[in-house]
Amino acid sequence: MDYAEKYFQEKKRRFFLVLMFLSVLLVFTFIFSLNIGSSNVGLLEILTLMNTSSKTSSTLINIVYNLRLPRTLAAMFIGVLLAISGVLIQSVTRNSLAEPFLLGLSSGALTFMALAIIIVPSIALSLHYVSIISFIGALVAFTLTLTLSEAIGGSATSLILAGLAVTAGFSGLSSFLAFIVQSKLNMPFLILLLGSLSQILRGHVVMLALISTAGFTVALIMAKRLNAIIYGDEHALQLGYNPKTVRILASMLAALLTSVSVAIAGIIGFIGLIVPHMSRLIIGSDNRYVVPLSALLGALVLCVSDIFVRIASEGLAIGEIPVGAVTSVLGAPFFAYLLLTKVKA
């Protein structure tokens, strides 16, 4: 009768297998990403040229990788941020259709950012301050969504509806404000409405690395609590967890992760929806597995999307396609599919 042991062991095994597979895939994607670009330098050339110590070639190599490497890393870290943020929000709201973008966090973050820059333009120079403002915006939006959701019934569907309303509102606001920032202050902002990794600087990568590592670690530590609150406040309480604390912590963490990603790259939606779902399809709903798997998958998905963007932008020669547009094109139909299959039940 060790069906139970078999089940848990199988899960662990499958988890490690998938983890390894995805890690290898990630490494390959990473290398591939470093290889594509408009100049003809590729990884192979780099490796051969590294042996020759000609000054121009090494400068060339280093510099080219100052462009591709930060962008690739940024794509991966932001993928992690968004995916984990999605896992947190879904656990907190007990709703598998929830996601930082769909519940208004991303749009709220961007709105507050734009507002702050209009009031104090010099704040745009400090990523630190911009992130804090962005964080506040994300929290405000989330609170609004939750309040509205309660007011219209508090069911799972109410949450999604409230989220859509808040997202729409803040999207409109942020578009309007972004336009002002861009035209009056001559700062690139409109591109953030649809998310772009083209403005990544080296300094950004450091912050992304720190925040995503921190976020991942905390989410993993909280994994069991997140598992517990999915089944209701009472269930969590009688397991010894305070659901209020868990909810506040998880929400704030989700808002932090989302807002940092918005502050650096703008609004990239649907990763927080698609990736946790895919993870659960593969490994079930245990957050101890879903968190690390989603982190990996998130990094992979966004990196691949960005690669696609870079290739398409060059091929079509129409300038940089915002990566958020790509995730929306992929994500929206996925969301529709989920609505059809899950909401009916």
């Binding site: 069991k224 089944y231 009472e234 397991l239 010894g240 967890y241 709903s285």
Partner: protein, 257 residues
């Protein structure tokens, strides 16, 4: 075996109207106690107070001589098991996953130990639900779900079982099934079980003790035959009944037309 003592407890949701008043209880036997009463009498509220979910404004709840609210949530979690559960949709949860969450208060390691898995298996066996251990929890029928709910409490190995309407939505066969099991488990593991049920007949058949609540106050407490008198029932529910004492079945309550 634990001992529950409640002295002069009162609870209010809004600090004005008291849902529970002057509750005095002493439950120290391995028995099944059923809380009965009309809608709004405060049955679920009483259970939630015992489960350390709602904090009474007046009075104290003692578990084994310790104030329930002076204990940490964590300590309380090891002693008390409460049934209420929300089943999330779209999360691809299997029954085994759900049950393993019950082991969290006891788990010293990040992952389940073999002991934890054993406890889960045993709890499934007790409620005779092994065959759907790998089913998705959102696909269970009400009856199956009720059994799993009991299993989840058992997996935690508490000393006190608090079950809110365990027979809801079940047809008669499963109702009796569940209530029989509850009695079995209570005796076997020497637990204190408190449950709420609507059905007077079933309550009378499967309870060792009955607490009759009306408007938040205890009308009567004692064995079914002591509590379920036509006078008490008329006072509490406003209906006239006839009480039949049957040696085989115990006390049978029959509503008069």
């Amino acid at each position: 075996m634990a001992c529950i003592r409640i002295s002069d407890m009162g609870f209010s949701y809004d600090n004005r109207l008291f849902t529970l008043k002057d509750i005095d209880l002493n439950l120290c036997e391995a028995e099944v106690t059923t809380v009965l009463g009309p809608n709004g009498a405060g049955k679920t509220t009483l259970l939630k107070c015992l489960a350390r979910i709602l904090k009474p404004q007046k009075g104290t709840i003692y578990i084994d001589g310790r104030d329930l609210w002076k204990m940490s949530l964590y300590e309380a979690a090891k002693i008390i098991g409460y049934s209420e559960v929300e089943i999330p949709r779209g999360f691809n949860v299997k029954v085994l996953d759900f049950l393993s969450t019950s082991r969290y208060p006891h788990m010293a390691t990040f992952f389940e130990s073999s002991e934890d898995i054993k406890a889960v298996k045993e709890s499934l066996k007790e409620v005779d639900a092994e065959k759907f251990s790998l089913r998705k929890i959102e696909q269970l029928s009400s009856g199956e779900l009720q059994r799993i709910v009991i299993a989840k409490i058992l997996a935690k190995k508490p000393k006190i079982l608090l079950l809110d309407e365990p027979t809801l939505h079940l047809d008669i066969k499963y109702q009796i099934d569940i209530l029989k099991k509850i009695r079995e488990i209570t005796k076997k593991h020497k637990l204190i079980t408190i449950m709420t049920i609507h059905d007077l007949r079933l309550a009378s058949m499967f309870s060792d003790k009955i607490i009759l609540l009306k408007n938040g106050k205890i009308v009567s407490i004692g064995s079914p035959s002591e509590v379920l008198t036509p006078k008490n029932i008329e006072e509490t529910y406003g209906i006239r009944v006839k009480v039949i004492k049957d040696t085989e079945v115990g006390v049978i309550v029959v509503p008069l037309p």
